[in-house]
C-alpha cells in the first residue's frame, strides 16, 4: 500500500495495512512526577511490539498523563497509542489535547469511555462524559477527514490520526456487543483492541457474529491477551474486575503449579498458546498484550509465540 493511502502513516497502521500480524503492548504511567518509569518500560518493549498503549488515568487513578507518557515512549523509540477517556475531558479538551498530541508526534489514538470514577482514587470527582466513546471516535474522524471541529468550524491543518477503539466481547447484552462494534466502525474506528480474552470459545462465538456482519473487513481487530502472573491474580480478575470473564479451568491450571516462578512460567505458556490459537481465528489481525506491571514477560512471550522479528515497514 502506498503512503498516500495511509490515514496517519504510523508504524501500527503500516503493519496492519500490509496484512502482517500486529503486536501491541501496554504501559501504565506512574503515580508520580517520574519520567524514568516509561523510559524503562519503553526500552524493555522496543522491538517486541509495533506500538504501545499508554493508559489514561487507568482505573480512574491519577497518573502521569497519557500524552506526556506517549511522547516519552516515542522519544525512546517505541510508537505510542495514546489512550483518551471521556471521563476526564469535555469536547473542548479532547480536541485541544489531540491537536497538541499530534504536534508532539502522536499518531495513534484509542478512544474509550473510561472506568467510572467510583473505582479510582478520587471517587468524589465529577465525571465529565460530555461525549461517549462513539461520539469521540466520530469527532476525531471528522477532524481528520472532513477537516472540521466538532462544532462544524473548519480545521486547518487537520491531524492525521489512526483511530482505535476497545470492545469487550464478554460484556452484556452479548447479542448487542458485535453491533456495538459496528457503531464504532461506522463512527470511524480504524482498529479495535478487545478486553483481555480468557474465555476463548466465547470470543470465537463473538467473532462469528463480527464476521457475519462483515466487520472484520472494515476494522483491524487485535485480540487482547493478559499473561497471568499467578493464581491470586487469576482469582482476582475472575471475581473482582468488571467485565472480565475468566473460566475456572484457567484459574485451576495456574493454581496447579507451585507459587512463584512455576506459576509465572505457566502463565506465560498459556499466553503463548492463546496467541497461537487466536491468530488462527479468521478476522484477527493482531494481538494486544496487556502485561499489567509485568512488562518483562512480553519479549519472552512474543518470541515464544513466533512473532519475532517484528516487521520493518517503510
Amino acid at each position: 500500500m502506498s503512503a498516500t493511502e495511509l490515514k496517519a502513516g504510523s508504524n501500527l497502521e503500516k503493519v496492519l495495512s500490509s496484512g502482517k500480524f500486529a503486536v501491541t503492548g501496554e504501559c501504565g504511567p506512574p503515580k508520580g512526577a517520574d519520567v524514568s518509569v516509561i523510559e524503562k518500560k519503553a526500552k524493555l518493549l522496543k522491538g517486541y511490539v509495533d506500538a504501545v498503549n499508554i493508559t489514561d488515568n487507568q482505573t480512574a487513578v491519577v497518573r502521569v498523563c497519557s500524552m506526556a507518557s506517549g511522547v516519552t515512549a516515542q522519544a525512546n523509540g517505541l510508537e505510542a497509542i495514546m489512550q483518551m477517556t471521556c471521563r476526564d475531558r469535555n469536547r473542548l479538551a479532547m480536541q485541544a489535547d489531540i491537536l497538541g498530541a499530534y504536534t508532539l508526534g502522536i499518531r495513534n489514538i484509542l478512544c474509550l469511555t473510561g472506568d467510572h470514577m467510583s473505582f479510582g482514587n478520587h471517587p468524589e470527582a465529577k465525571g465529565v462524559h460530555d461525549l461517549d466513546a462513539i461520539n469521540l471516535i466520530r469527532m476525531y474522524k471528522d477532524m481528520r477527514d472532513e477537516k472540521k471541529f466538532q462544532n462544524g468550524e473548519d480545521l486547518d491543518p487537520a491531524p492525521q490520526l489512526f483511530i482505535g477503539c476497545a470492545e469487550n466481547p464478554f460484556a452484556d447484552p452479548f447479542e448487542f456487543r458485535a453491533l456495538r462494534l459496528k457503531k464504532k466502525v461506522e463512527a470511524g474506528a480504524d482498529f479495535m483492541q478487545t478486553q483481555c480474552i480468557f474465555n476463548v470459545p466465547k470470543f470465537k462465538k463473538w467473532m462469528e457474529e463480527v464476521r457475519a456482519i462483515g466487520l472484520h473487513k472494515e476494522v483491524k481487530i487485535l485480540a487482547g491477551i493478559t499473561p497471568i502472573k499467578g493464581a491470586g491474580m487469576a482469582k482476582y480478575m475472575k471475581n473482582f474486575v468488571p467485565g472480565m470473564d475468566v473460566p475456572q479451568e484457567i484459574v485451576d491450571r495456574i493454581a496447579a503449579k507451585e507459587k512463584g516462578e512455576p506459576q509465572q512460567a505457566e502463565g506465560k505458556k498459556l499466553a503463548v498458546e492463546m496467541i497461537k490459537e487466536l491468530a488462527e481465528v479468521e478476522g484477527v489481525a493482531g494481538v494486544h498484550l496487556m502485561a499489567v506491571e509485568w512488562e518483562p514477560a512480553v519479549p519472552e512471550i512474543v518470541e515464544a509465540a513466533g512473532l519475532m522479528p517484528r516487521p520493518a515497514v517503510a
Binding site: T113, H116, I134, M139, N168, D172, F176, L179
Partner: protein, 227 residues
Amino acid sequence: MITAERKPLEEILSLVEGKKKVLVAGCDTCVAICLTGGEKEAEILASELRIKAQQDGREVEVEHTAAIRQCEWEYLDMIAEKVAEADVVLSMACGIGIQSLAEKFSPKLVMPAVNTNMLGMPQEHALWLERCGACGECVIGETAGICPVVRCSKSLMNGPCGGSHDGKCEVTTPEKEEIDCAWALIWDRLKEQGREELMFVNRPPKNWSKSSSGGPRKMVREEAKPV
C-alpha cells in the same frame, strides 16, 4: 417528584448556632411525599432541637410551620408572620423552596435543613429512584421510556459500555448495592417493542447547553403572560 434527605442533626445545629428564635418551615408538597420535610417532619425536627437545647442548657425558642408549597409566592404569604418573629428559618423544602423563602423574606436568615438530591419516583414504599436529569432535551422516545442521561452512570447515548454485566452496571451504590444497567433495560424493552433498530443509530453528541452547562435556565410562556 423532587426528593430530599434531612441533614444530620449536628449539621443543622451548626446552622442555627447562637440563634434564640428558630422557625422550622416544612413544605407540604414533594418533600412531604418523600417523608422528609412536610409539616410532620418539621414538627419532629422542632422537637429534636428543643430537646437538644434543653440537654445542653441553652435557651432557644423553636416553632414549626409548613407552607403548602414553599416555591410559590402566595403560599409564603401564609407563613409570613411566623417568619417575621424568627431569628433564623430552617427550611425543609427542596432547594427551590428554600431559595423562594430566602428571596421573599430577604434579608431574613434562611438555612437548609435538607439536601435536595434528585428528581425521582417512589419505586416502592420508602424507596425512591432517580428518573430525570432535567437535561432540557428529552430522548426517552428513542430509548424505550428509560433515561440514559441519569440512569446510565456515564450518561452514554449510544448503548452500554464494557462494564455492563448480567443486566447490572459496573458501578454500585455507596452502600455497595447493584444498579441496573440502563442500556440493558433499554435493549430489553426496545426488543419487546420490536424497535431494537433504535439501538443501532449513532446518536451525535448531546447538546448540554440545554442542561445546566448552559448557565441558569429560564422558561417564558408568552401566551400565559397577563395582558
